[in-house]
Structure formats: C-alpha cells, structure tokens
Symmetry: C2
Subunit: 450 residues, 2 copies
Amino acid sequence: MLPHNCHKMTRPSLLNFFCAGNRTIELLCGRASARRPHSSHTMRSVVSRPASGFRPSKVAVVTKTTRCEFEQQRYRFAGLSEVDLKQLLAMKGSSYSGLLERHTIHTRNVEHIVKSLEKEGIEVRVVRRGEYDEEVVRWADAIISAGGDGTMLLVASKVFSKDKPILGVNTDPERSEGHLCLPVRYTHAFPEALERLQRGDFRWQWRQRIRLHLEGTGINPTPVDLHEQQLSLEQHHMAHRITTLERRRESGAQDDSFSEPNLLPVRSLNEIFIGESLSSRVKCKSLDPHLTFSLHRASYYEISVDDGPWEKQKSSGLSICTGTGSKAWSYNINKLVEQSVEDLLKIGKSQTGLDIPLDPGFIEKVTEEYNQSLVFSPEDKRLFFSIREPIVNRVFSSIRPRGFAKKVCVRSRCWDACMVVDGGTSFEFNDGAIATISMSDDDQLRTVVL
Amino acid sequence: MLPHNCHKMTRPSLLNFFCAGNRTIELLCGRASARRPHSSHTMRSVVSRPASGFRPSKVAVVTKTTRCEFEQQRYRFAGLSEVDLKQLLAMKGSSYSGLLERHTIHTRNVEHIVKSLEKEGIEVRVVRRGEYDEEVVRWADAIISAGGDGTMLLVASKVFSKDKPILGVNTDPERSEGHLCLPVRYTHAFPEALERLQRGDFRWQWRQRIRLHLEGTGINPTPVDLHEQQLSLEQHHMAHRITTLERRRESGAQDDSFSEPNLLPVRSLNEIFIGESLSSRVKCKSLDPHLTFSLHRASYYEISVDDGPWEKQKSSGLSICTGTGSKAWSYNINKLVEQSVEDLLKIGKSQTGLDIPLDPGFIEKVTEEYNQSLVFSPEDKRLFFSIREPIVNRVFSSIRPRGFAKKVCVRSRCWDACMVVDGGTSFEFNDGAIATISMSDDDQLRTVVL
C-alpha cells in the first residue's frame, strides 16, 4: 500500500473507497498525515490492520421535520399568524415554547453534525425530508439521517444499493428512542464518531430487508405515500377499477386470469403491516350517503407460509418483519406485560399445585426472557410473521399465529386494506390481490455499528 | 289479576306492558286464550307466576346491508352494469354468485321473522340500516335487529331509553358470530322465540353502557359517522380551528380556559377505542405536498383511572369496554394464544426447574382459563380499560396496562386521533382534548335472554 500524494478530497473516483471487514481498497492518507504528526507510524499501523477507514467526500444529511415546523407551516398555510398559532396551541394545552425548544435542540444537533463533517473537508448537503430523493442518493457517498427512527426509515426507503452506507444520528435523544441510530453519546460528540469511522474502528452491518411482489389486482400497483395521500381511498379504488375494466375490454381479454406478479419498488427495513385502514371508512362525496356498510375493524385474508396450504384468517392485521424490525412494531404486538405473565403463572400454579414463584423479581425475569426471545439479528435472513389479535371461531382456523419463514403469501379478502411499508408507504391491498413477501441479499442495507 | 276483554292488539297504551323479573304490570290474555284452549288453566298459571308475557304490538325490524347489495349499489352508482360487476368480482377472485347466496339466505331469514310477527297480529315495519332513526325507535314497542352483531350495535346506538326492548336475530349464522343475537336455532324457528316471549319464558337483561364527556377542544364536538365521513380529517380540523379562533376573538375571550365538558349524544354498548387513525395520513389537497411529518402509528395520551394521577402513555391505542364488550374487541386485544402460553411456561419451567406440564391439553386449559377471566357480565357496572401494545421506554411510564374502573379520563396528545364508539361513530380527539368515560344506570339497554 503506497501513499498517494495529498490533495483535496474533491474527486469522487479516487476517493470512493470503503473498507468492509477485511476487504481493503485504497487508502488516501494525505489528510491523515496532515492531521497526525506521526504519519509514518500511522502508515505502518494501517498496513498491518486489514480494515481501513471510511472517508466519504460527499455526505448528504437528511433532516426530519420537527413538530414545530410542521405546525407553523400548517397554520401559515391556513393564513394564520404566529400569534394565532401560539393561541391555538395554548388552547389545546400544548406549549409553543415547548415545541420551539425541541426544534432548537434538533437544529443545534444538526449544525453540530454538519460542522464536524465540514471540518474534515467533507462536502455536505443538508436535505430536508421533503426534498430527499434518488438524486440525492446518487450524489452522496454516504447518507446521514438526522432525526429519529422515522427519518432513518425514510432515508433507507430510497436506497436500493447495498453499497451505499447509511448512518443515523438521533437529534433529540430525550424524545426519541433511536433504535436505528448511533449510540446517543455521538449526538453531541459527532467528531468522535467520525474519527472512529476514519480509523476503521467500526463494523459494517448489512441489514436484511423485505421485498414485495403484488399480483391479482388487475391494476398497476400505485404506491400511495401516506404522507402525501390526497384522494380518499374510495376515489382511488373506483378510478382503478373502471380503468381496469375498460383496458381489458379494449384488449379483448377473455379470461379472468390475474396479471403477472409485480416486484414493487420498495424495500422494507422494519416490517410490512397488512390490515384494514380506518380511512376505509372515508366515503367518496358522491356516493349515496345512505349507502353504508358494517364496519369491520378486522382484516380478512388467507395466508400461506413457505408454500404451505392457504389458511383463512381474521385478525386485526398481519405483521411481517425483519430482524431490524423485530425490535419495532412487531415487538410491541407480541410482547407480554408483567401483569399478563403474573396472571398466567397464578393460573398455572393453581392448576398444578406446584410452588411456582410469583414474586415481582421472578415475574420480571420471565417476562424479560419471553420478550427478548422475540428479538433477532438484523442480519438474519428470515422473516418473522405475526398475526395480530387473531380471531378464532367456527369460521376461521387457527394456524400458528407467529413464526419464522422464508416466504409468506397473503391473499386479501379485505374491503379496504393496505399494505403499509415501514409505516410510510402504503399499497392498496383489496379483495383478491395476492402479496408475496420474501427476502433477498441484494436488498441489504449497509449501516454502521460503532 | 283479572283478564281483560280480548281485542286486537293495536292500541299501544294498553299493550305497553313488560315484565321484568318479578315485576308484573298487566296481562292481556285475550290472544293467549284464543290460541290456547285451556285458557282458564293458562290464567291460573299466569297468576301463580310472577312474570308475564311480552306482547308488543308494533315491531321495527332493522336489516343489515348485505355485501351483495353494497357492491351492487357501489358499482351501479359508478355507472357499471351487473355484467361489469360480475366480471370485476371474478377478476378479484370473488364470486358474485357467492355474494348472492349469502344475500338470499339473509333475505329469507328476514322474511321468516316478519311472517312470524305478522302471524301474531303484530304490526311490522321493515327498516333498512340507512333509514333507521330516532323516529323508528319512538314508533316501535320493540326493535329487532336482523343481521349480525354490527346491526345490533347500530340498533342500540339510537336507543337512549332503558325501557325499549331490543332483540337480535342472526340472519347468517354461518358467516356471523352473533354474540349479541339470540341463539342460532331461533333464526329458523323464530315462532318458538316469539312464543317463549309471549309466555314470559325469558329474562330481561339490562346491559350497561358507557357515556362520554368531552372537553378542551374549544369546539362543539361533531360526531363523524364513520359510515358517511366525507371530508378528510385534515379539512375538518382546519375548519374547526379557524372557526374557534374567530369565535373567541369575537367574544373577546381573554383566557385560555377550556370549554365545559359536553355529554356526547352516544352510548357505547361494546367499547370506546381511542387511537391515531390511519386516515390521519390523508393530507388536504391544498396543503403543500412537501409538507410531511413522521408517521406515528402510536398514540400519545395521558390517562387517569378513578381520579388517580395522570400518567403519560404511548401505545397503539386504548380500549375501554363494558361487560358486553368484554367478549368483543377488548377480548381480542387481551387474549393469549396457546403458543404464547406454551413459550411462557417453558421459560417458567427452565427458570424454576419445576415439573410444569407442557402437554397440549394442559396448555389449552391454562389458556382457556386465562382468556375466560377477561370476560365479565354485561350487567356489571364497571368499565374495563386496556392499553393496547403499551410502549414502555425511557420516556413513558408503565401503569397497570389493564383493569377495572368506575371512571377513566384520557387527555389526548395525539396528532390526529379518534374516539371510536362501537366501531361505528368517531369523534375527533386531538391534542389537548379530555374525555371522561363513565357509566350510568340510566344508559342501560334492555335486551332479552332466552
């Protein structure tokens, strides 16, 4: 490994080096030499270590929209002033100054990140949530999510290459859990994180993601950005169905065969959730107001696990998650609270007569072990499906309500359901449509473990 | 008790007699005598029995809208023919003939009920779901719900007097559970049910219901019929908030005090469910499409049980149910599946070394006992609250996730949440609003146990 001449980090081709595991590419040590007096020593250490640093030249920092900004824009758009906003918030028992405080904390933490990067001669582009797109992804050598887990999910949602590194920094640790973000201490000490990255003192983590095929709708599946959904679902449906019928007639199609499965242009980092949406109750203005139907909170569908037999199901929804997502919504669906564990052990005790402990310490231990068993590695190549609140009666069978799988197929029997990807994008998933949910190594997301 | 002269049952005042428990009012035995040869014998039996028959003269039969009707109207409205409908359904893998079959079964069962009533000289009025209103309730001596549990909930929703009897008949037992309906055998043998009612061979059941006070919104709470909701929630909110601000300015109100608690014009037979609605993601067309916010599936709120301290909560929702509702949504939220019980007992076994049985029979027994403990009597005067999928972390405390109470107060910290009453009516429940949930004997619903 010979040192290159030092020069400013502006040309991506020379600087597009990343080290992964024991794979080394090139080392531009110029900057390192300039910073460290014992350059020759560093050179020798680098040569002996297989891993090398991570030194992107162009970094996009994607920032969340704080609630303060959101409320401001919302009311400004409605023609209300700042004074109006304060008053309305106060009426609600909310505090404008409180929102402003969180906003300031977030903004400062973003500045801290940006300054730290610029200090290293890295070209930084700060991109707001609404402006983030595939062009930004192409431009950047690495992308930093500056927000919470939601912002990380957004950032990941536009990355389809497993070579593009993503980092998450939690910009409001007091309010945000930040499971997907770097440890909280790097929020205020980002140079430390940068320094470790540059030294190669970290590990890459390729998080497995989920891919979706959709068929049987007879339509091109149109993703609906839940953030920007503008039509009522009813209007969507009717428009789609009429178009479908017309197209089929024009093409002279005689059979009722389904369209080919489409691979959807999304990859899920946490989970796919399938269920009837409350918005299914939004009726199109033009429909006869007397036309109503029984509300079903329950979702009806058929499920086939790893090409097994189709089983009819009625439940409040179906979650299919990755290892990453096993700590998120799926975890909350499946975890037990200590109260349930205690009640259950009491029953077990009374039914067996055995001396089962019921002290709080023991209850806590058993609960914790049970809940921990729900979590698995982000690198695990399996899916985990959970039928949420299954309804078992004369009509619906009871398959195993949760488990691992390589592939899950779901056929909708719902009136107005969605497939929701990472809580951010939804696809219509109505009666007759079939979703095939699986994983591929091609879909991995490259993240950092410090 | 002297017999009255027999005459046709047309005058409500003479016929408005109901027996409850050991309370007797009047007995019109004319009809009974006409039907039974041993009238004197019947008279003597009646005199010796405290209970007497139930003989309404005017009965409203409220019918559900079948899925077949719904799809027909939906497509007819969009200008599609029956042929189009069949084709679209087939494309979805649904069967028009299947829908028609269920429709026919329902219709026949309704006819059976109507004929049985008319045969007894009862004046019958068949009312479709969309036509059912308070005028029908006033007209009828009794109301029969002809459908499933959803139809029963609808019927109950417009009854505010505890004297008006409601009966449910399950018109499609193969597809519908009918927890709130009479036993399934009466669907095809309704005259038997009528006969028992007339003989007094039944019991009244007064089902407790929930009442709701709402305050702190600064607006008149407008119930949104989820069946007929036509504006996006965003449009609702903005309109309400601007109106509020204007009204306050006009009135010269200086303080930010909340409005008085309003008693809402609804009574819940099953449960109140509070949570963020997916439709919160529907954005008003006019809003800047770049304005987005992190999606929260979780609901934020504060809860106070029986005037206890306020506790911050984050969860996927909050359910507060009656005894009737303890077999419905609340049951599905709280029940355990055998797989969880098995996994838990395994952990208990390994942690204690005790010989806890793990055979399927034992698991089933323990699971069943646990789940049965969630169910309580419809006549019980207590509420049961359940925090669904509580999120416990650094920020949110963990109060007892479920339990009984006389009163529950909830303060919304949600962006776009609803309070959903029996899955049919919803009220906006946003940041700052406070709901007080309680019970009163005045709100009981009079139903029949055969």
